[in-house]
């Protein structure tokens, strides 16, 4: 009861402060309009509070006066060749290129100077590496893009997401080999403690409530893959929620990562599928021939649709979560364009929203890992299921 009262008082106070500051700002509006260059100044000041926005703002070019929240958000959600820390500081990541025309090239992304310079015949266009005609170092804005060579580039650079994959994999290996050690060497046969105690119920939950009922008695063969998928997605999702280095990359919200995982599931399903499964795809038993003409294409489509949906679900959920959380946060700076007071006034509200979204994302992080693993298990289960007729 007491807690509820306090919460109510807090929200009422927040609302009052918000309306008060807003009304003051409206009153100031007339003076504000008389000083047009004041807007630029205030935007820069507020934006300066957050390095990301300031940097994005700077990157957007000084020609662009207005704050472009959509662009900022998309830049945060998308992959990058450098790992942005704060302001203009970022960790350069290695760029690795192979082109059938020019062979291998490997250099630091700092050579591009945030896309302002060309290097070794390449330059950054947005976050994409393109080939240019000029081989030396020069101003990127005057370089001419060579489309023919660009098409031959295989960009296997260690981008932010790739580095995140390595970090995620490293974390997983660290955590789980440590736990495995607890099972085998240190405390063999004893009651679990610490990290082992925290992870064991989750491992057992995934095994007993997710994989076992979905696949049936042949589940043991697929356990390593499905457990790895579950924990990879979960850890990657959680890493995406932590905004500071070395986390914060939108890893599972990257379609390439989601696609790779979905393709692995598809390969496992296709390789392990038994006669019964293919029979159900091509010649559904107990269905008249006329209906089969209709049903078989749908079933064949379904075979590919399932991993596709798996991919889209993971990608869309995580990306949407990131976008919404960032959008709420950007509200401060969008409102801040109307003066620092407004930005400050909105900030408690957007902060509450952002916190709420982050908490929701914590749930989604687990949920998506759960859903991906479970559906993968269900597809595998359908493929290896015994004949039941």
């Amino acid at each position: 009861m007491l807690k509820n009262k306090r919460l109510a008082i807090f929200s009422v106070l927040t609302f009052l402060v918000f309306t008060l500051i807003f009304s003051i700002n409206v009153a100031q509006d007339s003076t504000h309009n008389q000083l047009p260059d004041n807007e630029d100044h205030s935007t820069a000041a507020v934006a300066g509070a957050d390095g990301h926005v300031a940097e994005a703002h700077a990157e957007a070019g000084h020609a662009e006066e207005k704050l472009n929240a959509g662009k900022i958000i998309m830049e945060h959600v998308a992959d990058a060749h450098g790992w942005h820390l704060w302001g203009h500081t970022e960790i350069p990541l290695p760029i690795i290129l192979y082109s059938s025309e020019r062979g291998f090239a490997m250099f630091s992304s700092s050579r591009f100077d945030h896309g302002h310079k060309t290097y070794n015949g390449y330059m950054l266009k947005g976050q994409k590496v393109v080939a240019v005609d000029e081989m030396g170092e020069m101003d990127a804005h005057h370089a001419t893009i060579n489309d023919a060579v660009t098409k031959t580039i295989f960009d296997i650079s260690i981008t932010k997401n790739v580095a995140s994959i390595f970090i995620c994999c490293g974390l997983m290996l660290l955590i789980f080999t440590n736990i495995a050690g607890a099972y085998t060497r240190k405390r063999k046969g004893l009651a679990p403690t610490g990290l082992q105690n925290a992870m064991e119920p989750i491992i057992m939950f995934v095994r007993d409530d997710l994989i076992k009922p979905s696949i049936g008695h042949k589940y043991e063969k697929y356990l390593p893959y499905l457990l790895t998928v579950f924990f990879f997605i979960w850890i990657a999702n959680l890493m995406g929620l932590i905004p500071v280095f070395p986390f914060g990359a939108n890893l599972t919200g990257s379609i390439s990562v989601a696609l790779t995982l979905a393709v692995f599931t598809f390969i496992i399903v296709t390789v392990n599928a038994n006669k019964n499964y293919w029979e159900h795809v091509f010649m559904m038993p107990g269905v008249p021939k006329g209906v089969l003409v209709l049903l078989t294409p749908i079933e064949i489509l379904g075979v590919f649709l399932r991993p596709f949906v798996l991919m889209i679900r993971l990608f869309a959920n995580i990306t949407a979560g990131h976008i919404i959380a960032l959008a709420f946060f950007s509200l401060i700076f969008i409102f801040g364009q109307n003066g620092p007071g407004v930005g400050l006034a909105v900030s408690p509200l957007t902060l509450i929203f952002t916190v709420f979204m982050t908490v929701l994302e914590l749930l989604v992080a687990f949920l998506q890992a759960y859903v991906f693993t479970m559906l993968s298990a269900v597809y595998i289960g359908a493929a290896v299921e015994d004949h039941h007729h």
Binding site: I156, F176, T184, L223, V257
Partner: protein, 164 residues
């Protein structure tokens, strides 16, 4: 549209690292973890089964004990009954034996008494006869101690003979 375009580099690294991770995790993490979990589960299950079995054993043992006790009790009753019967039999036998012995002894005693009586009577008769003869002899001797008397007697006797 950039967002939904798969990137070759990312897929390339993701595939390689994920495959390696699956392999490593299988070998160094999931293998030991899952096998120990399974081991523990089986050991718990075994322990539970053993406990259940022990319980059953105890119950069986109890029943067995009860049965043995009952048997012992029955046997005791039987033995007691038999003992009682034997006792009765022995007592009865002894009693009947004593009876017959007594009877026999009485009979013998009676016979002996009769014999003794007869012997005594015979002896008494003989004694009386001897005494009578002796007395008669003494009396006769006295009566015939002088001649007068002898003559008187002869007289008398002769008197008798004359009558005949």
């Amino acid at each position: 549209m950039e967002l939904v375009k798969p990137e070759f580099g990312l897929i390339f690294w993701m595939s390689i690292s994920f495959l390696i991770v699956v392999f490593l995790m299988r070998k160094f993490a999931w293998g030991p973890i899952l096998s120990s979990l399974k081991e523990r589960e089986t050991s718990i299950e075994e322990a539970l089964n053993a406990a259940k079995k022990a319980k059953e054993d105890v119950a069986n043992l109890k029943a067995e004990n009860e049965r043995i006790l009952q048997e012992a009790r029955n046997e005791r009753d039987l033995i007691l009954k038999e003992a009682r019967e034997t006792k009765d039999m022995i007592v009865n036998e002894a009693r009947s034996k004593a009876q017959t012995e007594g009877d026999r002894m009485i009979t013998i005693a009676r016979e002996a008494i009769t014999n003794e009586k007869l012997a005594a009577i015979t002896e008494l008769k003989n004694q009386v006869a001897t005494l009578s003869i002796e007395i008669a002899e003494k009396v006769i001797r006295q009566q015939l101690s002088n001649d007068d008397k002898q003559k008187a007697l002869v007289q008398e006797m002769l008197k008798d003979v004359k009558m005949n």
